[in-house]
C-alpha cells in the first residue's frame, strides 16, 4: 500500500475502511472480537445479577440506598452524545474531511473524559461510604462489571487520542482509515454496554 497516494474528496473511495484487503480483514476481525467482548460482558452481568445486594450478614449497602439516578443519567447522556459525535467524525472521514473528523473526535474525547470523571467521582464517593471492592460479594461484582466498562473507556480514549496525534500531520489515507473506523466501532460498543449497565445496574437497582 502506498502512503503517498494523494486523494481528493472525489477520488476517495466510498468505503475507505474496506478499500484494502487489510482494511476488510480489520473491520471483520474487529466485529468478531466484539462478539467475544459481548460474551465477556454477559458473564460479568450474570455474575452481578447473582451477587447483587449479597454480602456479609447485616450489610447495610444495597443498590436501593447506594445509587443515585441523576448522576447515572448525566453519565449516560455524556456517553450517548459521545457516540453521536463519533458518528459525525466517521461521516467526515468518509467524505475525506480530515479536519472536521479530528474536530469531532476531539469532542468525543472530551465527552468521554467527562464520563470518566463522573465515574471516578462515583467510585470515590462509594468507597468513602465504606462500599469497597473487598467489602462484599456485591462490591466485588459491582466494581468488576462497571470497572471493566470504565477500563474499556480508558482504553478507547487512549486509542482515539493516539490515533489523532499520530495522524495529525499526515491526514487520511487508506492505511489509517480502517484504524479510525474500528476505533469508532469500539467506542459504539462501549456505549451499547453502558446502556445495559444503566438499565440492569442502575434502573433495575433503584426499584424498591
Amino acid at each position: 500500500m502506498d502512503l503517498k497516494t494523494k486523494f481528493t474528496p472525489q477520488s476517495w473511495p466510498e468505503h475507505p475502511e474496506a478499500a484494502t484487503v487489510e482494511g476488510k480483514n480489520k473491520v471483520l476481525g474487529f466485529w468478531i472480537f466484539l462478539g467475544g467482548e459481548t460474551v465477556l460482558f454477559a458473564s460479568l452481568f450474570a455474575t452481578f445479577l447473582a451477587l447483587k445486594n449479597k454480602g456479609p450478614s447485616g450489610m447495610e449497602f444495597s443498590t436501593q440506598n447506594l445509587f443515585e439516578l441523576p448522576l447515572a443519567f448525566i453519565m449516560t447522556m455524556l456517553l450517548l452524545t459521545s457516540s453521536l459525535t463519533s458518528v459525525y467524525a466517521m461521516y467526515h472521514m468518509k467524505n475525506y474531511n480530515f479536519k472536521a473528523m479530528q474536530g469531532w473526535l476531539f469532542i468525543t474525547v472530551l465527552l468521554g473524559l467527562g464520563f470518566l470523571g463522573f465515574e471516578i467521582y462515583e467510585f470515590t464517593h462509594y468507597i468513602h461510604e465504606g462500599f469497597t471492592f473487598t467489602q462484599s460479594a456485591f462490591g466485588s461484582s459491582f466494581y468488576t462489571l462497571v470497572g471493566t466498562h470504565g477500563l474499556h473507556v480508558v482504553i478507547g480514549l487512549g486509542w482515539i487520542i493516539l490515533l489523532m496525534l499520530r495522524n495529525a500531520k499526515r491526514g487520511l489515507n487508506l492505511y489509517n482509515a480502517p484504524k479510525f473506523f474500528i476505533a469508532s466501532l469500539y467506542w459504539h460498543f462501549i456505549d451499547v454496554v453502558w446502556v445495559f449497565i444503566f438499565t440492569v445496574v442502575y434502573l433495575m437497582g433503584v426499584i424498591k
Binding site: 471483520l28 467482548e37 465477556l40 455474575t47 454480602g55 456479609p56 462490591g139
Partner: protein, 623 residues
C-alpha cells in the same frame, strides 16, 4: 528478499523464528511447543499410573499426587492438544483455501507467544513452590483454600495462554471468511477448514467466560474480592458455571478439528469423495451450536433441580445425533472405496470404534439419574479419555503422519508408523477400558491410593501396563521423527499420490509466499478434479503472475508477551507481605506490554512486495 534458502547461522535461525509471521513457521513452532508440553503431560500421566499400579503405594505423596493430576489435565488440554491442533490448522488451512497467509500474520505470532509463555508460566510453578492442586477444573471451594501459589500460577498462566487462543481463533475466522481463493465457496471448503472455522467460533464464545472466571479467581485470591466466598455473600457455584460454559465447548473445540483431520484422511485413502459432504458441514455446525447448551451436565450432582437436569440431559443426548451422522458418513465414505491402509488411515480406522465407545458412555452419563452413580468415579475418567485419546490424540498422530510431507517435505517411515499405531492403540485400550469397570465398582477418581483386596488391584495393574505401552508408542513416534530428519529425503508434491485438496497441489518445499498465482478453485476436491483432467500443474490460476504483498517480520509480539509474563509474577506475589517489589514488577511488566503496543501503533507496518520479475526467475520448487 529472496526465497532461495540461504545458509543461515544458528543465531539467525533462532531470530527468524522469534520474529516470524509466516503461518508455516508458526505451525512448526506450535508443533514443537505442543510436543514439549505433551511430553511433560505424558510424564505426569506415567507418574499417576505408577502410583496407582498397586494398592497402598507410596511412590508419591497425596499432596504431590493432587498437583500431578491437576497439571496433567491442564497441560494436556490447554498446552498440548490445542496447540498441536493449531499447528495443523496453521500449516494446512491457508493452503487449503488458496491463501498466501492468514488474515493477521502479526496476531498469529502474538497468539503463539501468548500460548507459549502462558504455558511456561504455568509449568514454572513446579520450581517455584508447588504446582496447582485443585484439579484441572479448579473448583472454587477447593482452590480458594489451597495454600501457596499453585492456583495463582494456574489462573494467571491460563489467562495469558487463553488470550493467545482467543486471538488465534479470531484470526482463523477472518482468514476463512475473507482470504479464500476465487471459486472456493463455503460449500467447496475442505472439511478440515470447515471444522477449523466452527471450532474457532466456539473459541470466540467459550473463552471469554473462562477469562472472566479466571479474573474472579485472581481477584479473590490476590486482591481480596469475594466472588466465591459465601461468608461475604459470594457463591462458589458461579465458578462452576463459568468454567463449564467454557469447558464443555472446549471439548468440541478440540474434537471438531480432529473430526476434520479424519474427514481429510478417510476420503484420501478410500480414494472416494467424502460421503455426505453437506451433511458433514451441517453436523459440524450443529455440534458447535449444541455444545453451548449442555454445560450443566457436568453439574448434575450440584443440585440445580430436576427441571434443569432434565433439560440439560436431553440437550446432551441430542448431540449424539449429529455425531452419529458423522460416523456413518465416514463409514459410507469407505464403503466401496479402494482403501489403502497407510499409517494415517490405520489411525482413522482405529478412531471410529474407539470414539464410538467414548460416545456411548457419554450418552450413558447424559442420563442424570445414572450420572449420580457415575459422577466422580473412574467411569468418568475412562469416558473422557476414550473421547480425548481415542478421538483427539489418535487424530494428532494421524495428522502428524499425514501432513508431515506438507510441513517438512519429508515422509515419516510407514513401517515404524504402523508399529507405533499397534503399540499405542493396544496400550490405549488396555489403560482405559478396564477403568470403566473400576468406576462401576466404585473407585473414585482423583484418589491417590486404594486399599488391597477390594477387587481393584488387577484392573489397576492392567491399566498401568497399558500406560507404559502408550508411552512406548510415543517414544516410537519420536524415534520415527528423528530417523526421518536424519535421512533427510525430500518427498516432493503429493507423496501419498491421492491428495484431493489444494494443499497437495502446491510445489514442495512450499515457497514462503505459498501460491505464486492465486489458484482458481473449480469444485470440491479441486486438486482431484485437476488430476482427473490431466492437468500436470495441479491447479488452474485465477490471475497472471504479479507482485505479491508480504507482511514484515516483527519481534514486537514476543516482547509484548514477555511483558505480560513479567507482570504475571508481579500479580502473583502481590499479596505476599515479604515481597514489596511485587507491585513494581507488575507495573514494569504492564509497561513493557503497553509500551510495545504503542510502538506497534505508532510505527507504520506496510509490509513489502516481491516483484513480478523476481517471481518469474524463481523455479519455485518444481516437485
Amino acid at each position: 528478499m529472496s526465497s532461495t534458502a540461504k545458509k543461515k547461522g544458528f543465531g539467525a535461525t533462532i531470530w527468524d523464528y522469534l520474529t516470524t509471521v509466516d503461518h508455516k513457521k508458526i505451525a512448526i513452532l506450535y508443533l514443537i511447543a505442543g510436543t514439549l508440553f505433551f511430553v511433560i503431560g505424558g510424564i505426569e500421566a506415567m507418574l499417576i499410573r505408577i502410583q496407582l499400579a498397586k494398592p497402598n503405594n507410596d511412590f508419591v505423596s497425596a499432596g504431590l499426587f493432587n498437583e500431578i493430576i491437576t497439571m496433567h489435565g491442564t497441560t494436556m488440554i490447554f498446552l498440548a492438544a490445542m496447540p498441536l491442533l493449531f499447528a495443523f490448522m496453521n500449516a494446512v488451512v491457508p493452503l487449503q483455501i488458496g491463501a498466501r497467509d492468514v488474515a493477521f500474520p502479526f496476531l498469529n505470532s502474538l497468539g503463539f507467544w501468548l500460548f507459549f509463555w502462558g504455558g511456561i508460566f504455568l509449568n514454572l510453578s513446579w520450581l517455584l513452590g508447588g504446582a496447582p492442586d485443585a484439579g484441572w477444573t479448579s473448583y472454587a471451594s477447593l482452590s480458594l483454600a489451597s495454600p501457596g501459589h499453585g492456583i495463582d500460577f494456574y489462573a494467571i498462566g491460563l489467562q495469558i495462554s487463553g488470550a493467545g487462543t482467543l486471538i488465534s481463533g479470531i484470526n482463523f475466522i477472518v482468514t476463512i471468511i475473507n482470504m479464500r481463493a476465487p471459486g472456493m465457496t463455503f460449500m467447496r471448503m475442505p472439511l478440515f477448514t470447515w471444522t477449523t472455522f466452527v471450532s474457532s467460533s466456539l473459541i470466540l464464545f467459550a473463552f471469554p467466560p473462562l477469562t472472566v472466571g479466571l479474573f474472579f479467581m485472581i481477584f479473590d485470591r490476590m486482591f481480596g474480592s469475594n466472588f466465591f466466598d459465601h461468608t461475604m455473600g459470594g457463591n462458589t457455584i458461579i465458578w462452576e458455571h463459568l468454567f463449564w460454559i467454557f469447558g464443555h465447548p472446549e471439548v468440541y473445540i478440540l474434537v471438531l478439528p480432529a473430526f476434520g483431520l479424519y474427514s481429510e484422511i478417510i476420503p484420501t485413502f478410500a480414494r472416494k469423495r467424502l460421503f455426505g459432504y453437506s451433511s458433514m458441514v451441517f453436523a459440524t455446525i450443529l455440534i458447535g451450536f449444541l455444545g453451548f447448551m449442555v454445560w450443566a451436565h457436568h453439574m448434575f450432582t450440584v443440585g440445580l433441580g430436576a427441571t434443569a437436569n432434565a433439560i440439560f440431559a436431553v440437550a446432551t443426548m441430542a448431540i449424539a445425533v449429529p455425531t452419529g451422522m458423522k460416523v456413518f458418513n465416514w463409514l459410507c465414505t469407505m464403503w466401496g472405496g479402494s482403501i489403502k491402509v497407510t499409517t494415517p488411515m490405520l489411525y482413522a480406522l482405529g478412531f471410529i470404534p474407539s470414539f464410538v465407545a467414548g460416545g456411548v458412555t457419554g450418552v450413558m452419563q447424559a442420563s442424570a439419574p445414572l450420572d449420580y452413580q457415575l459422577h466422580d468415579s473412574y467411569f468418568i475418567v475412562a469416558h473422557f479419555h476414550y473421547v480425548i485419546v481415542g478421538g483427539i490424540v489418535l487424530a494428532l498422530f494421524a495428522g502428524a503422519h499425514f501432513y508431515w510431507p506438507i510441513m517438512f517435505n519429508r515422509m515419516l517411515n510407514e513401517t515404524l508408523g504402523k508399529i507405533t499405531f499397534v503399540v499405542f492403540f493396544i496400550g490405549f485400550h488396555m489403560t482405559f477400558f478396564v477403568q470403566h469397570f473400576l468406576g462401576l465398582m466404585g473407585m473414585p477418581r482423583r484418589v491417590f491410593t486404594y486399599l488391597p483386596n477390594q477387587g481393584l488391584d488387577t484392573y489397576n495393574l492392567i491399566s498401568t501396563i497399558g500406560a507404559f505401552l502408550m508411552a512406548i508408542g510415543v517414544v516410537l513416534l519420536v524415534v520415527n521423527v528423528i530417523i526421518t530428519t536424519i535421512q533427510n529425503k525430500p518427498c516432493g508434491r503429493d507423496p501419498w499420490g491421492d491428495g484431493r485438496t489444494l494443499e497437495w497441489a502446491i510445489p514442495q518445499p512450499v515457497p514462503y509466499y505459498n501460491f505464486k498465482q492465486t489458484p482458481l478453485v473449480r469444485g470440491l476436491d479441486t486438486y482431484w478434479i485437476e488430476k482427473m483432467e490431466g492437468n500436470k500443474e495441479g491447479m488452474s490460476y485465477a490471475e497472471p503472475i504479479s507482485d505479491i504483498h508480504m507482511p514484515n517480520n516483527s519481534i514486537i509480539p514476543f516482547v509484548m508477551v514477555f511483558g505480560l509474563f513479567v507482570a504475571g509474577f508481579g500479580a502473583l506475589y502481590n499479596p505476599d507481605a515479604d515481597k514489596p517489589w511485587a507491585l513494581a514488577v507488575l507495573i514494569i511488566g504492564l509497561a513493557i506490554t503497553f509500551g510495545s503496543m504503542i510502538v506497534r501503533s505508532l510505527k507504520d507496518d506496510l509490509g513489502y512486495h516481491i516483484s513480478k520479475e523476481e517471481l518469474m526467475n524463481e523455479k519455485g520448487g518444481n516437485e
